[in-house]
């Protein structure tokens, strides 16, 4: 349990996918015009990440690695299988959102199918491999990474809603200032890089 919380906090705050690694920028910048839409996309990303990272862990561990069921080293198939899992999950999410909330479906527009190619999703699966997480840690990493992405997009959406009323030069309004603010937020997040959350839980 300690490990679970540890990985969750670390992936949500210290190693935030957007603000520390700058992954998943396209939809992050394009869908952050209002908090409501941002929340919808953020929840979709939490769902997709929380499911695909454990599934990809199972695929990698039981099918692709040398000690798996097939007994062969098939890690060169990693990209294609991971992307296929992600694409089918996103397709599922798309169908669910289209049925449940057509208004949200329309406001997300093209960026809903583009979750498939959101670098944060594939990036998280690859981080999961390179950091050698076990199954419960990869569940925590998927959920935590998604939660961090959710927080980051809500934060920038809230800032952009306030910015509507501030006195910015007209050509810089909207996208331009969003880029600059993301850069500043990323520089602030670099300060968290060295923190080890294990200290908070082990009580040392």
């Amino acid at each position: 349990m300690e490990d679970f919380l540890n990985v969750f906090i670390k992936s949500a705050f210290v190693e935030n996918l957007v603000l520390s690694y700058f992954l998943g920028m396209c939809s992050y910048l394009a869908v952050s015009k209002s908090v409501k839409t941002a929340m919808g996309l953020g929840l979709a990303v939490i769902f997709v990440l929380g499911i695909t990272v454990p599934i990809n862990w199972l695929i990698n561990h039981y099918l692709l690695s040398e000690g798996g069921l097939l007994g062969m080293d098939l890690t060169f198939l990693r990209f294609i299988l991971f992307i296929a899992v992600i694409a089918s999950m996103v397709q599922l999410v798309e169908m669910v959102i289209e049925k449940m909330s057509p208004a949200l479906y329309n406001s997300l527009g093209i960026f809903l199918p583009l979750i498939t190619v959101n670098c944060a999703i594939l990036g998280a699966s690859l981080f999961m491999i390179s950091r050698e997480y076990n199954f419960s840690e990869s569940v925590a990493f998927g959920l935590g990474g998604g939660f961090g992405w959710f927080l980051a997009i809500i934060a920038i959406a809230a800032i952009r809603e306030k910015l509507k009323y501030s006195n910015i030069p007209a050509p810089l309004r909207g996208l331009g200032i969003a880029f600059i603010i993301t850069g500043l937020m990323g520089m602030a997040f670099m300060g968290l890089m060295g923190i080890d959350p294990a200290i908070f839980f082990s009580g040392k």
């Binding site: 700058f22 992954l23 998943g24 920028m25 396209c26 939809s27 910048l29 394009a30 015009k33 990209f79 294609i80 992307i83 296929a84 694409a87 089918s88 996103v90 397709q91 169908m95 093209i110 199918p113 583009l114 498939t116 190619v117 959101n118 670098c119 594939l122 030069p169 007209a170 050509p171 810089l172 309004r173 909207g174 996208l175 331009g176 200032i177 969003a178 880029f179 600059i180 993301t182 850069g183 500043l184 990323g186 520089m187 670099m190």
Partner: protein, 235 residues
Amino acid sequence: MSEIKESKKALFPMTKKERKLLFDPLNDNNPVTVQVLGICSALAVTSMLLPSIVMAIAVTFVVAFSNLAISLLRNYIPKQVRMIVQLVVIAFLVTIVELTLKAYSYPVYKQLSVFIGLIITNCIVMGRLEAFAMANKPWQSFLDGIGNGLGYGVILIIISFIRELFGRGTLLSGTPIEMKIIGASSDFWIDTTTNPYFGWYVNNNLMVLPAAALFIMGLIIWYQRSKNEKLIGIS
């Protein structure tokens, strides 16, 4: 004589609409600064000029031909599995690029191997497939792909030019024509015989960080929109 002239003209029959498809993405409908696609790779690749140029060429190739292929197939793809079909086409083309680079230019391949894989998750490719190729004819889709690839390349090259020049003091490092323009006090020993102005500049390490790409992109958008007023107010 007049017949020859006419046949020459007919070799590239570009209507006004087709020209618009090809050149609009360079400015008015730029994939990066207006449509907000392909930002991740623009942050990852642009710390140096050479990877950006190779990346721009590779992405143009992949977008153009995946647009063409999906546009040819568009009436046969069921809506429920379209993303998987699109990804298979993209992954196939990216593999071609990867193997070509590996065969003909191994040093560049070694430097770029990770970034080439990143083309699969470059949202420009899938964005154009979803937004254009699924609903338009093959030739138009092909032109749209080339235009968007070039529009992406222009932004990439501007950003990486600034980042490499001020972050490392060089241009095109890694190629035979590497230029040490203003130089750096820490990375290189000062060689005033080749360039008397070299060596006075202290590298700005901020420019190497991804955050710098965000700042430069913001400034490019500012400049572009102040020159092109009909873009003000988009997103």
